[in-house]
Symmetry: C3
Subunit: 264 residues, 3 copies
């Protein structure tokens, strides 16, 4: 805490060594350490902490332009985010996490560090992403879902999860250590997934059984049918549409051996 | 952040346009925006944010008298609360939520906006109430329970839950999109409820089966028997007792066809 | 809020009556009330609140030396912690909790008060410990695990959980009211434990069945075998090793009647 606070932000604690782009706004009580670089028009809410020191993480943190970081969020040193980051309130993102464009992280979520996250991911509230997870593009993690990483807790074995593009993890679901969710896989609310989940598979229940292919997930009222890119584009910019279509085609082309269902 | 902070609260950031009742207390670091009206004797803890701007929510936020809002809570613009609101620490309540008297919301809970909440509700910690939920009077939501609202995530379909008076949702339970909990219904710990749940029904397990009528829920040691108004009144004011008794009678009068249990 | 803030900490709100040891650091915006005693080299992060008043808790709070309390944590009056406490961000610890040495509590955890906690316990994120719980030494509570205390919610019956030394509760597990986890017991991810769980038992599923003895929990890749003290000591000081070994021997000596498994 030997940093010098910049007099320009009299209500906040902004290091005079932090690098701020044009049009940056910083709310009352926010702390911005000297290893932080904020792109143009980044908005930092009250009582946030950016560039928090972690053990052995001397690197800086870079937050791309047009970000909105809501109040009471804590982002460690050694992270980087592409443009358009948006966080809820009370978020924690630990050291060494690298995310692509337009990540959205909901209130109270905790990304435990050293994670690699692609573009356009959406995490809702209380999402707990274990240290070292690998997450692709267009991934949805719903509230209170968990990605674990220790197969024999507590141990020194580190086996984080991998989530491929377009996968969806519903509320309260648990990804056991080492889970690998294939492209466009779908884990139902409260289910517990384990091992390699094929592309396009729907997983349900405490045993994480494959119960369907996502293309058979329909909403009768609305006449909607998954993969979700069929009917949902809200919040994605036009330049992402081509990637969404290619992803949908890849998921539709995936095949599952669902014969196991007959044996039940 | 063009607001002028009132010099009266030198440790906090209180807009000079905010309307404060008599005996209001505001802790250090709290931010009160200009669209906020606080009733008499409202107490705001340190580092809270009241009247947070949301997308397209120009309305003010009104907090009735005798409220206690604990530290680090965030309440958006466009909300209203009857007298006696009590929140835990680190709570988030988003725009457009309207609650009756004496709502209590525990630490880390997240009410996602546009919710209608009746009188005397009690939410414990980490309760996640999806946008647009409708919640009656005397409803209990225990820790880590979730009310969802998207039947085919992600989609544009919005099907939030409805919870009738006196219902109880235990820890870690999930209310699937569109769940309608009848009067006095009871969802067991970790269960997953779906669809229309009749008044007085007890729901358990991942399939949300009806396993009992609440009047058969007993605690042998204490000789207690539900509905809970039979034996629990702590924290409710005398003027609520008549409503509690009428509610108990309504729940007792509800009938369930439990024959399905014989077929299992 | 009639306290006088000490001029020594110009960025924080430290009561002039608080007792601070040598080398104490206090971050911007932190509030330290006058009933607080901090040992040598305690570090308090930004926007923390220490000594928060609760109902009827006039006692002080004592935090032993070498503690690290991360940002936005709230610790009530009437608590005590042995040396080496370490908390994550956004933690809440309510009144009357007494913990031994080197407790570690992860981000967003909530210890609901009047709890007795032994030495060297590790709680991860969003851990919810109900009021009045009794927790031994070397206990692991993983993220989103819950210890409940009301057997017929809502009621006035108070039946908190007891967790013996060396027990492990995995992510998302629920301990029902009155659960007594024996020494070294292991509750699997998402399981729901109830009643008396024998020493060394592994519990799984929504019905909390005993599925194994912990000494049969192995990780094939790493060649590891529980009890966890066999292969894990990271973060414990040398003076704890003797206790860990004695605990391992006690767990290994425990016997389970697993015949019930044959009947499945």
């Amino acid at each position: 805490m030997r940093e010098k606070w910049s007099p320009e932000f009299s209500d906040a604690f902004v290091s005079s060594k932090a690098q701020l782009g044009n049009g940056v706004e910083i709310g009352p009580g926010a702390v911005v350490h000297d290893n932080v670089r904020l792109g143009d028009r980044v908005r930092v809410g009250p009582h946030c902490i950016l560039g928090q020191a972690g053990p052995g993480t001397p690197d800086g943190t870079v937050i791309g332009e047009e970000a909105t970081i809501r109040s009471h969020a804590v982002i460690y040193a050694g992270c980087s985010f592409g443009r358009g980051l948006e966080t809820g309130h009370h978020v924690v993102i630990r050291d060494g996490t690298r995310a692509g464009e337009n990540l959205r992280v909901g209130n109270f979520s905790d990304i435990e560090g050293q994670c690699a996250i692609g573009d356009y991911c959406r995490f809702h509230g209380y999402v707990h992403v274990g240290r070292g997870s690998t997450i692709g593009n267009f991934v949805w993690l719903y509230s209170l879902s968990i990605g674990t990483n220790d197969p024999l807790p507590p141990s020194e074995v580190h086996d984080p999860v991998t989530i491929e593009d377009g996968a969806v993890v519903c509320v309260g679901a648990i990804l056991m250590p080492g889970t690998h969710l294939g492209t466009g896989a779908f884990v139902c609310a409260g289910a517990r997934a384990e091992g390699a989940v094929p592309a396009g598979a729907v997983i349900d229940g405490p045993d994480g059984r494959i119960v369907n292919h996502v293309k058979r997930l329909v909403h009768l009222g609305g006449g909607l049918r998954h993969p979700w890119m069929n009917h949902f584009r809200r919040g994605f910019p036009e330049e992402a549409f081509g990637r969404l279509e290619a992803l949908r085609d890849e998921i539709l082309a995936s095949k599952l051996d669902l014969d196991v269902r007959d044996g039940e």
